[in-house]
Symmetry: C2
């Protein structure tokens, strides 16, 4: 093995490649890193990102309907059912009847749900704090502002 080329030990240097100069590719790679750390931070039985997002909105906007929540998260109503089921099974929210329209059910956080959310959002903030500790406060704020600006321009959401 003396003359063996060390071809594959580490990822080759991709600097200057087309891919590295695309915002889309960098967004994806960054998102994969953040999501993996998010999941690790909440542990094996922790909420998945999308379930956390739904809980966050239900706690902050109680009595939202499922359709409205789906619009806020920009996912299909059908996809929200399993998410709400999980949160209901965990005892974090309840589907409650709405007087005047028997089609809809308002989503109301339970006391346990609000307490759980307080714990989880603290862990999430700690996760982002740790993960972005190599960037200055100003850099993090710029990144957040640029992402929000892009969403405002393009997403109309």
């Amino acid at each position: 093995m003396a003359g063996r080329i060390d071809r594959n030990r580490a990822a080759p240097d991709m600097r200057g490649s087309d891919l590295e100069e695309l915002i889309g590719y960098n967004l994806k790679r960054a998102y994969v890193i953040v999501q993996a750390d998010f999941r690790a931070s909440l542990g094996k039985d922790g909420l998945a990102p999308r379930v956390f997002s739904a809980l966050s909105l239900v706690v902050q906007f109680p009595h939202t309907t499922q359709s409205a929540l789906a619009r806020m998260l920009d996912i299909e109503r059908s996809g929200l059912v399993a998410i709400v089921d999980e949160l209901e099974e965990r005892g974090y929210l309840a589907r409650t009847a709405v007087p005047g329209d028997r089609r809809v059910q308002a989503l109301v956080p339970t006391t346990a749900g609000r307490h759980a959310y307080a714990d989880i959002i603290a862990k999430v903030h700690a996760h982002e704090e740790r993960l972005f500790s190599g960037m200055t406060r100003s850099e993090r704020q710029s990144l957040l502002d640029l992402l929000k600006k892009f969403r405002d321009l393009e997403g109309q959401s």
Copy 2:
């Protein structure tokens, strides 16, 4: 329906919510927008983002092995098989034997593959140009730089 509350017509205003201040959530929402526009730009029979990424690297780094390519993209070797299969079926690359190590097969772009890539990368650049046209050149560069800095710090990739 006179007194009907217009509860659900548009997505409620989420400004100031916890979610909107999380980098992770904004990264995900931004990525979903970019990916959808990427796919629309390349059309129904266009390459999926990950297939495009693989083609890009094969064109720019010919004779890479599948294992090395998987490391560059940070995906599993097993997941790369279908991607390379698709590119081979489209006639964009060939698996070629490597003298000295009969386990590996170098990935070599075909002439058709290089030409197709030239067309596709032009479409991808136009897609990003259009999608980010609401942001200044300087804002786009900042976003790219911040994403790359984060990846350099955290991804070790």
